[in-house]
Symmetry: C2
Subunit: 223 residues, 2 copies
């Protein structure tokens, strides 16, 4: 019986254009319909129909503002679902063009995964937190870790969301930190100017300040 629903869900992702849209939205930001049409390489009417379908299925949430239609992933569950599939589908063969190769190298170095950090940067952060006994090996908080996040201004009370979650990284094939703590850490590093989006997409790079600060704070050799 659940086979029908499985097929229905998979059908939503089984189209190059919709897949491109979802992957773009994995950066956790809201995109306009036009931006997504350009990113996916299709005409506006085509993108419009796809977005309607994804919104109706509940994978995306939309927010209309003036003449713009903003759209974003519905929530962390949807991001996790996509990450699982991407982790299985794998990075595949290397990128064919130089331009694509440098872009995917930047993504492999560091990127956002919905609302937390992934790529070599994400994995290295998780490793550093484990090495400092702030997280256990399976990425749940230790008492010291809870205190540490508290010092960062995190408040995990009153949220139904798990504080920590291990998210399988689809380039590194190792888990990085997701959940409320992962999201807070990502936002905190951005606020400090220690990491910054590079380029238009999901790629994230450590700033010079960040490189020093992270080495100092966590003994992290930033990728």
């Amino acid at each position: 019986m659940p086979a029908a629903e499985l097929a229905e869900l998979a059908a939503l992702l089984a189209d190059r254009t919709r897949a491109a849209v979802l992957v773009a939205l994995l950066d956790g930001r809201a995109w306009t319909a036009g931006e997504l049409a350009r990113a996916a390489g299709v005409a506006p009417p085509t993108a419009s129909a796809h977005l309607t379908r994804l919104v109706e299925a509940g994978l995306l949430r939309e927010h209309r503002q003036g003449r713009h239609r903003y759209v974003r992933l519905a929530g962390p569950e949807e991001a996790a679902l996509l990450e699982h599939l991407l982790a299985y589908a794998g990075p595949g063969r290397p990128a064919p063009t130089l331009r694509a190769a440098t872009a995917s190298a930047a993504l492999a170095r560091g990127r956002t995964c919905y609302d937390h950090l992934a790529g070599r940067l994400g994995v290295a952060l998780a490793d550093a937190l484990v090495a400092r006994d702030l997280l256990t090996a399976d990425l749940t908080t230790t008492p010291a870790g809870l205190a540490w996040f508290d010092a960062l201004g995190a408040d995990f009370t009153g949220t139904r969301r798990p504080v920590t979650r291990a998210c399988l990284d689809w380039t590194e094939r190792r888990p990085h930190l997701a959940g409320a703590a992962g999201a807070h850490l990502c936002a905190w590093l951005h606020d400090r100017g220690w990491v910054r989006r590079s380029g238009t997409g999901r790629a994230v790079a450590v700033t010079d300040d960040g490189r020093v600060a992270l080495a100092d704070l966590l003994g992290l050799v930033a990728p």
Copy 2:
């Protein structure tokens, strides 16, 4: 760039018949092509083509024996992938017919998930192991747990597979025990005759002996 591979993978699952085949194979057993054709409700040629496609994609492995073509899930990764999707797609609306309702009730009570136990039974087992301090709250083994599994005859050395893994249960929406330990526990309970497949599919029920033994051993009130 990974969008194309995501769409390709999803397309494999985006068909009712292939989805039905994969869900059937989630019991971890090898099925013949004919059995799967009947289970999915299609003619033999149709099933044959689907199986070829799934095998070529690497989701299934086949084993030809005489005039039979046996087919099974390629490995635990594939099972985990399907479970993730099913957990998201959810149990949906209740079953429309009485026959289907009793079948899905049996599945919800207990079933195999590839090679370990799931459903209320699987979740209850995991809870009992946590309560006895054999597993941590996130379903990794404690030292006592390792000793306990050792006493069960489990040998986790020399396997690349994780000893424990939390697998999100798509009926209970809570994690149950997967990984090498989950598989061993499932096999061990079967060997003892404490659980037994009921019906033709994945459903599993606790036997009378098992009910007594599990209450005795783990304080478990079997579902």
